[in-house]
């Protein structure tokens, strides 16, 4: 295995950069902002270098680097990317600079700390996506909670403490079971292999040997913490609170990347480690996913707060991803992967845009708005565009993901029923209802005379610079998705074969 430093550089850039920022005096706000942006841009460039040198025809992990860390337990610093993680790494490095730029004027106090936490958060997220050692993965998974906790808790809205504690406890709860499962698995490995290890690649080989009954429990122990993160119904109630209270940048990262760690975890760990259990539990997970799709959409429909509405729409959209994962078809799984990116872009854009008007009016209540198309025409176009992307209009990104997922789920031999797709597809109708209805009440009609709207001005150049790159990719994925589908194609196809071809060697 070659030793490649690129991923390590990628992790070190925001980490070292973030700590260096702490040395700068707090008063130099503008310099800190610029430096933070610069650091995140360097990370983006490094991830692009990785992308261009990545061999898409191979399903294996590339850019692998490994150092022994705790020798006695065979725990190492072990990183690498395959198609699945690469695409999420790119999403992370792409969104981070945009969120920093979007907070340019909305974050005024403790700028240094904010930038520091954002960069630290990036380290955590990237670490989760590139770790190939379960122990290391777990550390990043937990570590990432801390900056997010502070971002909501310090820069959040009125009920920020309640929301951040809820977020923290919810996620902690899930992770504890995962830790138990990781240790159990490593111990099981020491029986099979003769030595204790948390090396994911070695565990991939022995995971399927876990006795069938135990496999289910292992699967569930892992899946619980991922399900909370996704979130899968009924573990979603932390999300609306966290979103509503978080500052815009926090919401964008939360929706854009953090939720994807849940679905990423399911694909990366649950499926290949416990293939038999995954297939057994697939119908149950799919049903929960579909409940999430419909439930999330219906509850989103009745929300009065724009951010809360978008938050519940995430529950609905992520349901599609989970359904795609547990359909075990090439189409649906690829759809799930691309849909993770899509959701990051379109929901990220929605949060950014809600942030734009919130910064000016300090209200997110839908009823406080109305008829603003006349006052803010550019915003109105951008908002509609993000909504169309989110409702899955063909030609934009959302359609590609939803279509592939539903198509794959429909013909899935594992699910083996049309009903999953039929129910899930109804989410497509509801998405149009809640998003267009919100749009109508906010943007159309006669101008609301609410004094809060007096200071409403159209998007400025900086805000356009933030949103245009996202729109660019929304169109690109919609019109020419191959660029992105190709990244994960080999990985996904390999994974599906791996799961479906697991021999039923285990005693039932």
């Amino acid at each position: 295995m070659e030793n490649n430093f690129l991923l390590t550089y990628l992790l070190l850039t925001p980490l070292v950069g973030g700590f260096l920022l702490l040395l700068i005096p707090s008063q130099k706000k503008q310099f800190i902002k610029n430096a933070g942006l610069g650091i995140s841009l360097i990370a983006f460039v490094i991830s692009l270098i990785i992308y261009f040198n990545f061999d898409q025809s191979k399903p294996d992990f590339q850019f692998v680097q490994k150092f022994v860390w705790i020798e006695n337990f065979n725990i190492s610093y072990f990183v690498g990317v395959d198609g699945l993680s690469l695409i999420l790494v790119l999403l992370t490095t792409f969104l981070t600079p945009l969120t920093l730029l979007s907070s340019w004027s909305s974050i005024q106090h403790k700028v240094k700390e904010f930038t520091f936490f954002m960069l630290l958060l990036q380290v955590g997220m990237l670490g989760v996506f590139v770790s190939l050692d379960l122990f290391m993965f777990y550390i990043f998974w937990e570590a990432m909670l801390i900056p997010m906790y502070f971002i909501i808790g310090i820069w959040g809205g009125g009920r920020r403490i309640y929301a951040s504690v809820k977020f923290f406890i919810y996620t902690m709860l899930g992770s504890l079971l995962m830790l138990v499962a990781i240790i159990w698995l490593a111990v099981f490995a020491s029986n099979e292999l003769g030595y204790f290890t948390t090396n994911l690649l070695e565990l991939y080989k022995i995971g399927p040997n876990v006795p069938h009954e135990i496999q289910k429990w292992m699967f569930l122990a892992f899946a619980l913490s991922f399900a909370i993160k996704v979130p899968i119904f009924p573990l979603h109630t932390w999300l609306p609170d966290a979103h509503v209270e978080a500052p815009t940048a926090g919401s964008v990262i939360l929706a854009g990347v953090l939720l994807k760690m849940g679905t990423y975890g399911l694909i990366r760990f649950c499926l290949p480690l416990f293939p038999q259990a995954s297939i057994d539990i697939a119908p149950m997970m799919s049903i929960l996913a579909i409940i999430g799709i419909i439930y999330g959409a219906l509850v989103a429909m009745v929300q009065k707060d724009m951010k809360k509405l978008v938050a519940y729409s995430s529950v609905s959209h992520l349901g599609f991803v989970v359904l795609g994962i547990f359909s075990f078809t090439h189409e649906a799984m690829q759809g799930a992967v691309i849909q993770m990116v899509n959701h990051g872009l379109s929901t990220g854009a929605l949060f950014l845009l809600v942030g734009v008007v919130y910064e000016r009016t300090h209200t997110r209540e839908i009823s406080d708005y109305g008829g603003i198309a006349k006052v803010v025409p550019i915003f109105s176009v951008a908002f509609l565009f993000a909504i169309l992307s989110s409702v899955g209009l063909p030609g934009l990104n959302g359609f590609i993901g939803e279509f592939l997922i539903l198509l794959g789920a429909f013909k899935s031999p594992v699910l083996n029923s049309w009903w999953y797709s039929i129910f899930a597809a109804s989410g497509v109708i509801f998405a149009a209802v809640y998003l267009l209805w919100m749009y109508q009440r906010v943007v159309f009609g006669e101008l609301n005379t609410n004094p809060k709207l007096d200071h409403l001005t159209d998007m400025n150049a900086r805000e356009l610079i933030v949103i245009i790159p996202i729109f660019f990719f929304i169109v690109w994925i919609g019109v020419y998705p191959s660029t992105f589908l190709n990244i994960s194609d080999a990985t996904v196809s390999n994974l599906i074969n791996q799961v479906l071809n697991t021999p039923l060697s285990v005693v039932k």
Binding site: K166, I169, Y170, P234, H236, T237, Y295, L298, V299, M301, V302, Q303, T329, H330, E331, Q334, G335, G371, A373, K374, L388, L393, P394, G395, F399, I400, F403, L404, L406, L407, F410, K411, W418, S421, I422, A425, S426, V428, I429, A432, V433, L436, W437, Q440, V443, F444, G445, E446, L447, V479, Y480, P481, S482, L485, D489, S493
Partner: protein, 647 residues
């Protein structure tokens, strides 16, 4: 030449981008209008040249696939942005670009002075772009892209005057309603696509239809495919039970009603079913469903049209009704007649709407026909062309509507169902009646408008010339489909042209015995005589004996108000579907399940832990002696435990 078909898609897209991005800066209406119309005019020329080239080819070589690039490739799924140029798509493309061009030109006059002028042309171009994708696609996914794309444009254009009121609600609300109801149809369409992919392993037209034709497939599977696709068609083409969005779509500017909600987009469902004719031919039960839904819609909408007073509303219900005819044609296997009626209807209904627009324009945006009257002398061109359109839709020979409608009625009978013919023919009479009611109340009789404030005037040339061109085609377009009973074997041109498209479907279907020529001519005479009688009656009721209509309405109050209120369908849907969904979502799902049950449980657990730790934290007194005692107790217990386990 055929390879250049992509220009017909690209040019409208370029027009959209120019006007959409720079329109607000250009400001000059002439430039914006020229760019918008020019893009469509050029596309029309391209299609025309392709038609000429294709006519020169032998009938079995008239299908060309033009592939641009690969769109999605995952597993077995391989979808390209590729266009299928064949007899059916060329015909549709001619209608869309030809009538589209005329309506663009007309709009330069109609939208003059509107501050959203550039936006309007941008949207119209985007619509043509989407519509061309819809009709030219060589696979289901690209068709679906166009399908949803036209839905989006419809949404944008219905809500074009987004700050205006519309009836009891707003234009924005009407726009959303259109989009959402179309999505219900799209939901069915999507399921159809999934089932096609699962059954045939492809979504490419040629591959799927060839497979369907040659590989034995379970009839129930094909029936489901046909049914799912038809649900999509019901949404887009406003059939029972999803027709409710189309009358509300009249909230948009009138050229939009003409282009999107009469001539082109709403016929997309008919086109799609015709394109998939093979599935329907293999699923006779679903064919029957299509025919019955079409027939019921035709009748149902026509009765509503009888009493409406908004000029655009009458035309809207008339459109729903005429679309019903087209589905009746498809349902009885007369695919060619269905498409033929799409074409003739496109001419005369676009003409009717544009004529209505001209009247509205001249009457200072008044749309109530009870406040018109005697407009003939003020707007002669509008009057003459409107009259032509009315004759055409009423089915009087030799105007275009006669040929297409009569052919549909004839096949309904020949299919062996007298009832189909009877209801269809009755609907034709009703149609003739309400159209001439509209004509009489608008152009004849007493002038019922306030002459001090309203000064009716003829519209400018840029609007009347398109009317004249459309009127010309409303008269002559029928001649390409003269029934063989008159033109002899092989004399029906459009039938010959489309024959290869429907050949497979026709070979699958049970052929029906053809009743004699005598019967055909007899039925024709009956329906024409009936239409003529209905026209006379309309003039009698509304012109010769004014006041008679009110008397009748008074005598049948209940029936009249049911019709006037459109059978209360909107109200019923609202009570039975919309309100319950909202209430359940808000009261049960959100406020109860989400807040009380799920979040409540979690918060209660949290406060339990809180309670526990609040008590347990008292142990942390900070008094060293207390800690020492606890430690001692601990050691004693540990020792005790060790001793016990040792013994």
């Amino acid at each position: 030449m055929t390879e250049l078909i992509y220009l017909t898609v690209l040019l409208p897209l370029i027009g959209f981008l120019i006007n959409g991005l720079f329109g607000s800066k250009i400001k000059n209406e002439k430039i914006i209008g020229t760019i918008g119309s020019g893009a469509i005019g050029l596309s029309f020329i391209v299609v025309l040249l392709i038609l000429i080239e294709t006519l020169g080819k032998p009938a079995d070589q008239r299908v060309t696939i033009v592939t641009l690039f690969q769109w999605m490739k995952v597993g077995n799924l391989d979808i390209s942005i590729a266009y299928q140029v064949d007899q059916l798509s060329i015909l549709m493309a001619l209608i869309v670009t030809g009538i589209g061009f005329l309506i663009h030109v007309y709009s330069i006059g109609y939208m003059h002075g509107d501050k959203g002028f550039w936006r309007f042309f941008a949207y119209l171009n985007l619509f043509i772009f989407a519509m061309m994708n819809l009709i030219l696609a060589d696979n289901f996914v690209l068709l679906f892209l166009g399908w949803e794309g036209v839905g989006l444009c419809s949404y944008l254009l219905i809500g074009f005057w987004y700050d205006r009121k519309f009836e009891k609600s707003t234009t924005a609300s009407a726009a959303k309603k259109a989009f959402v109801i179309n999505r219900i149809g799209d939901f069915g369409f999507l399921l159809g696509i999934f089932l096609i992919y699962m059954t045939f392993g492809s979504l490419n037209f040629t591959e799927v239809f060839t497979a369907a034709n040659h590989i034995p497939v379970d009839e129930s599977v094909v029936s489901f495919i046909a049914l799912f696709l038809f649900i999509g068609a019901i949404g887009k083409s406003a059939q029972i039970p999803l027709f409710v969005w189309l009358p509300d779509a009249m909230a948009g500017p009138t050229p939009v009603s003409a282009l999107i909600h009469a001539a082109t987009m709403v016929t997309a469902g008919v086109y799609m079913v015709a394109r998939c004719s093979i599935f329907y031919a293999m699923a006779p039960t679903i064919m029957m469903v299509v025919a019955i839904i079409g027939l019921l819609t035709a009748m149902f909408a026509a009765t509503i049209g009888l009493v409406q007073n908004d000029i655009k509303k009458v035309l809207a219900y008339s459109t729903v009704s005429q679309l019903g005819y087209m589905f009746l044609a498809l349902g009885v296997g007369a695919f060619t007649s269905g498409i033929f009626h799409v074409m003739t209807h496109a001419f005369f209904k676009a003409l009717l709407f544009l004529g209505a627009g001209s009247v509205i324009h001249g009457m200072h945006h008044e749309q109530n026909i009870q406040k018109y009257g005697g407009l003939k002398k003020y707007m002669p061109v509008t009057f003459i062309t409107f009259l032509i359109a009315c004759i055409a839709i009423a089915g009087i020979p030799p105007f275009s509507g006669f040929f297409s409608k009569d052919e549909i009625l004839w096949y309904s009978y020949a299919k062996g169902n007298f009832l189909f013919w009877l209801i269809g023919a009755l609907t034709a009479l009703i149609t003739a009646f309400y159209m001439f009611r509209l004509l009489s109340l608008t152009f004849f009789g007493k002038e019922r408008f306030d002459k001090h404030h309203v000064h009716p005037h003829e519209s400018p040339k840029v609007m009347t010339v398109p009317l004249i061109i459309l009127a010309f085609f409303s008269i002559v377009a029928g001649f390409i489909g003269i029934p063989e009973v008159f033109s002899g074997e092989g004399g029906n041109q459009i039938k010959n042209w489309l024959a290869p498209v429907f050949a497979d479907a026709h070979s699958k279907k049970i052929t029906y015995g053809m009743p004699s020529h005598f019967v055909e001519i007899l039925l024709m005479v009956i329906s024409v005589a009936g239409a003529a009688a209905a026209i006379w009656l309309a003039r009698h009721v509304y012109l010769t004996k004014p006041g008679l209509a009110d008397q009748i309405a008074n005598r049948m109050k209940k029936g009249y108000s049911v019709l006037l209120n459109k059978y209360y369908v909107d109200e019923i849907y609202n009570k039975l579907i919309v309100q319950p969904i909202y209430k359940v979502s808000d009261g049960f799902l959100f406020k109860f399940t989400d807040v009380k049950i799920i979040d409540g449980t979690i918060n209660r657990t949290a406060s339990l832990i809180d309670l526990f730790s609040n008590n347990i934290k008292r142990i942390q007194t900070g008094v060293a002696q207390f800690y020492a005692i606890i430690m001692m107790i601990g050691i004693v217990i540990a020792l005790f435990w060790i001793i016990v386990s040792l013994i």
